[in-house]
Symmetry: C2
Subunit: 223 residues, 2 copies
Amino acid sequence: MEVREKLEFLSRYPDFWRHLSEEEKAFVCHNTEVINYHPGQNIHSADSECIGVLFVKSGCLRVYIMSEEGKEVTLYRVSPGEVCILSASCVLSEITFDAYVDAEEPSEAVVLNPFAFSKLIEKNIYVENFSNKMKAIRFSDVMWTMQQILFFSFDKRLAIFLYEELIKNGPIIRYSHMEIAKYLGSAREVVSRMLKYFENEGVVKVSRKEIEIIDKKKLMERL
Amino acid sequence: MEVREKLEFLSRYPDFWRHLSEEEKAFVCHNTEVINYHPGQNIHSADSECIGVLFVKSGCLRVYIMSEEGKEVTLYRVSPGEVCILSASCVLSEITFDAYVDAEEPSEAVVLNPFAFSKLIEKNIYVENFSNKMKAIRFSDVMWTMQQILFFSFDKRLAIFLYEELIKNGPIIRYSHMEIAKYLGSAREVVSRMLKYFENEGVVKVSRKEIEIIDKKKLMERL
DNA sequence: TTCTATACAGTGATTTAATCACCTGTTTAC
DNA sequence: GTAAACAGGTGATTAAATCACTGTATAGAA
């Protein structure tokens, strides 16, 4: 990616870009690189070194927490045009928990290293505010997830998941039961059993690594 | 509370106060009032009108979410010297969920009305950043709570709750089982049964609206 | 004082979901 | 071609939430 292209891309994040001086823009350019991730690749974790702020160009990232026993719960996803802020958590003093970030699909991002981001936060109040604003947006995302987990029964949550996938990518869903379990903060067996139950009800058709929604109406009745 | 006292009190919140102009400080003074709340009083909810930012002077506030069926889960508490930001959620565009705030003890707060806060956010980037920074801090608090609920078994969470109360207010805990259940996002019966189990183990002594921790060591073994 | 409504707490039964143990079939890497 | 890793299935057990009902202490009204 050449510099001109990078500038053009970053200007699509006005909250971040608009209040930078020309000098700061050049500084950002010097401290970013384009990185490609493959599906399932870990981008950020508690022990791995901190990678910085990701401006996602394509693909999809999954941000999650993990228990000591390895149980995962997905907090939210980061889509193209959005920013992954928690991958810079090493320079974010307000963030006191450990989050993990994986690529869910082949993904490309413009990555600003944490040192440069930290420098900008120190010097430019608008960058600090950008950082905190991104956190606030994700706070709301996490609250949505939390309410789902705490207040909705498992069958309803699975139905919501299937429905969202249907809207986003059509009636064929290519996730393993394990991946769905991680997304919903549940266990693989529980997902398998509920999918089989949905299949008996005629809502979906289940086969290896593929779930087909065959009755949208019946699915919507479960929301 | 006279103006001089108000100024002195608000200056203890440097993130908020430091970057205000003299004019803005006067504006804040004109748009704040001291309010007292009694234990159990609701301060903020989805339907009640938005009260604004609370700079807590004394007491303790409880911030929580509620399901449609009325089940409550406490997100965090706001102590003296801290700020309750979600009570101004009507003017916070990034906050898309409904939170509730109650006074847990007799509490006193300096309250800045939402209109004035919104005006300041528009005009002063430091105030906007203060607002977003407060949200980011509470984001971390909520993540702590979420990890407790999702990853720790109920007996451990109850032990942690009792231990925290022991450290804060001594060995006698004056909450009803219902209040503890709300705090832990559980049900009253579950709390009652686990307390009885703890009592059989010799950790606590349970009586009406009162739990006495009689063996700190045994309690700490359960953490 | 006594009555009564209400808040608080105890308990068995049931249901939901998570966990455990173990199994089969399929795909992938060497 | 074979082993290892991955995907999925199933029964048994356990944890916790929920439901339905009971008794009891306490504050306020009669």
